[in-house]
Assembly symmetry: C2
Homo-oligomer: 406 residues x 2
């Protein structure tokens, strides 16, 4: 500790960047390694590394704009990489189940969160915002667990990915609705336009993207003179669709995922490898970024701690029940996997809470409760996922699937 | 243009990051492609893209801390990647020539810059700072040209890389000396300590790094449970040595280069591929970052423009003569390649000028002259390099080398 503390204190301007990169990257990898050695998911170690080096414990690293940007790039490249391993036709095959799981996974948490806050004696608007924050699904963590364990080919994983895309659109609409309620008026036309734009963008890219890229990419590529032209095209599409996704009202990572999926059948193994390089560098910043925002403050106030525990339990159970019931047609085991996979709220839940804070409709203590719930659901999901996917072979369809040969 | 301008104006907070990434990356790649099609080095296109989207022309992108950080990471990964392709034993084999080339390449530009400024009637201190700024070599641009054309194996390329490392140490000492002169006192002991630290760090890592990594990396790696463990170790070493390099007084990219070289004989092809992915993403930010700082202001003031032209010519000729003469023992063709390869001053020259500006010993017009020289040398080097390396086969030793068989 001493030499590092000395270096950090003595840190010249020039050393700041590589030192920050070193501390974040190495702490995330060391903790991930420790957790893997203990038989736990490395991803939890990465998030805990963020709590450890962050303001709450060692105070080596403070959240800042640069780290936030690296964190966003990290989860964009992660979802892009996941998209590269998924065919849109496979998502559409499980589309009905995913729609059911996503919808039930939105309705159940919303009403449970709302009900609990009302029962706790909190005002109506605050209860609605907490309900809205419990709706969100942050698919990044689940995607990283599934990708690192090579479980993306399992049916349940496809349902999770499709449901996460749908969930993002539903979450956008709920956020738009509660935001206009907080402003005092709900404009149905505006909501309908938002819905049409988000659904339209997602559906068009998901249905036509693969075919369009299959025609366009090889044609452009054969004319390119720059080195690694296919990768350059892929990155251009990744950032381009991320921008368009935001303008269509959905998250940048949905655009990144759709970009990957559109290219899944076109690009070669080289693009996978180069993308993996970027993801390996940046995903630790995504994990540590989550941990940096952890606020241990809720532990100092017993009533807030109690509410945090209740909301956390409700957040876990409501997604399990909602998403699980939605996917129950696939069998109990897959339903459980889908339910667990949709538990993490991550940064999405925190954004909803921040908006509520901005409108002045939720108070700081409730904001802390939501932040705690968002991060705690993110921490509990990886071990639950590991348990739910026990017995599923890496790279194979889920255990319940009929064997293809024999 | 219209839709982009519209999007930029309408840009929500969430869209800013992917939009910035998109504009910088795609403009760099488009311009690189255009230049390659015209038979010119793509790297020049990347820098011109920065001028184009920067404040001087379209004003779509302003230099900011985030872009500066991505640019620094880009050149660090670039030098790390170059290091991975170089064996330290090969650098030591050309060490004598490199030392001669670096030293002459420091002495000639310094005195030429100093003399011109004095002849121009500028004060002594200002002349010394311009001389010091003309000493710097920014090896990033040359490294990118050589790496992309697979010319790193040529003898001249080895001399350039070794000379660039030595040049960085010499440049540090000159900067330390002129900075203390600007403060009014030169502390010889302090300079000697700086020299010992910089030379010591560089020599120890260059001589012992390869053997140490050859022993340590396989041992640690076989015990690792995290995925892509070798790449994680490589990144840790890259950032760790970059930090130590700065504390030893040399540039972060020298640390990154030494890290790559230390691992060159240990890590597998997978680490090369993953590193290439990161470099492919980030190097365009390095190139655009250079262009963003281009100041067209010197073109509006005829006397300043004249001085800029003279200084630019002196900067090119003095490195050609200095480094070329230093390497003349390798034959005329290699001497020319080394001279040309050391021409770019890049960000290093600008940093010296900034320090002079900070001490108040150089005036803004002379600062513009130095910035112009730094960037113009960076722009002229790639086509000159292409010309100097004509006839050298990619992946082969330089044409003058005796054939190994036959």
């Amino acid at each position: 500790m001493l030499p590092l503390a000395f270096l950090l204190a003595a840190g010249s301007d020039a050393a700041r960047l590589p030192l920050l990169m070193f501390v974040v990257f190495v702490s995330a990898k060391l903790m991930a390694e420790l957790f893997e050695k203990l038989g736990q998911p490395g991803i939890v170690g990465g998030i805990l590394a963020g709590i450890l080096v962050g303001p709450q414990v060692l105070n080596w690293v403070e959240p800042n704009e640069f780290l936030t940007a690296l964190s966003e790039l990290g989860v964009m490249f992660l979802l892009f990489k996941v998209g590269l391993e998924v065919r849109s036709s496979e998502l559409f095959r499980v589309g009905g189940t995913a729609l059911l799981a996503a919808t039930a996974g939105v309705v159940v948490p919303f009403f449970l969160g709302w009900g609990i806050l009302l029962a706790w004696g909190e005002p109506q608007m605050e209860a609605i915002f907490v309900g809205a924050a419990m709706v969100a699904t942050s698919v990044g963590i689940t995607a990283q667990v599934l990708a690192s364990k090579q479980l993306l080919a399992a049916t349940a994983s496809k349902i999770i990915l499709a449901a996460a895309v749908i969930d993002d659109v539903l979450g956008l609409l709920i956020l738009a609705a509660v935001s206009s309620m907080a402003r005092g008026s709900v404009n149905i036309t505006e909501l309908a336009v938002s819905a049409a734009l988000a659904v339209g963008f997602t559906m068009i890219v998901a249905t036509l993207g693969t075919r369009a890229m299959g025609k366009v990419v090889p044609k452009i590529e054969e004319k390119l003179s720059v080195a690694e032209g296919q990768f350059a095209l892929a990155i251009g599409l990744l950032f381009g669709l991320s921008v368009l996704a935001i303008y269509a009202g959905v998250a940048a990572i949905i655009g990144a995922f759709l970009a990957g999926m559109a290219l899944a059948e076109t690009v070669g193994h080289r693009v996978h490898d180069l993308t993996t390089g970027v993801a390996e560098l940046l995903v630790p910043f995504f994990l540590v970024g989550i941990g940096l925002h952890f606020d241990l403050g809720v532990f100092t106030d017993p009533p807030v701690l109690l509410l945090s525990g209740v909301i956390l339990a409700a957040a876990v159970v409501s997604k399990l029940i909602g998403c699980g019931l939605g996917a129950i047609g696939m069998g109990w085991a897959d339903a459980m996997r889908v339910g667990v996979g949709m538990i993490p709220r991550g940064e999405v839940g925190m954004v909803v809470a921040q908006i509520g804070l901005g409108f002045g409709v939720i108070k700081p203590s409730i904001y802390s409760v939501v932040v705690f719930m968002s991060l705690a659901t993110t921490l509990v999901a990886p071990p639950l996922l590991k348990w739910a996917y026990r017995g599923v072979e890496p790279g194979a369809e889920a255990a319940e699937e009929p064997m293809r040969i024999g």
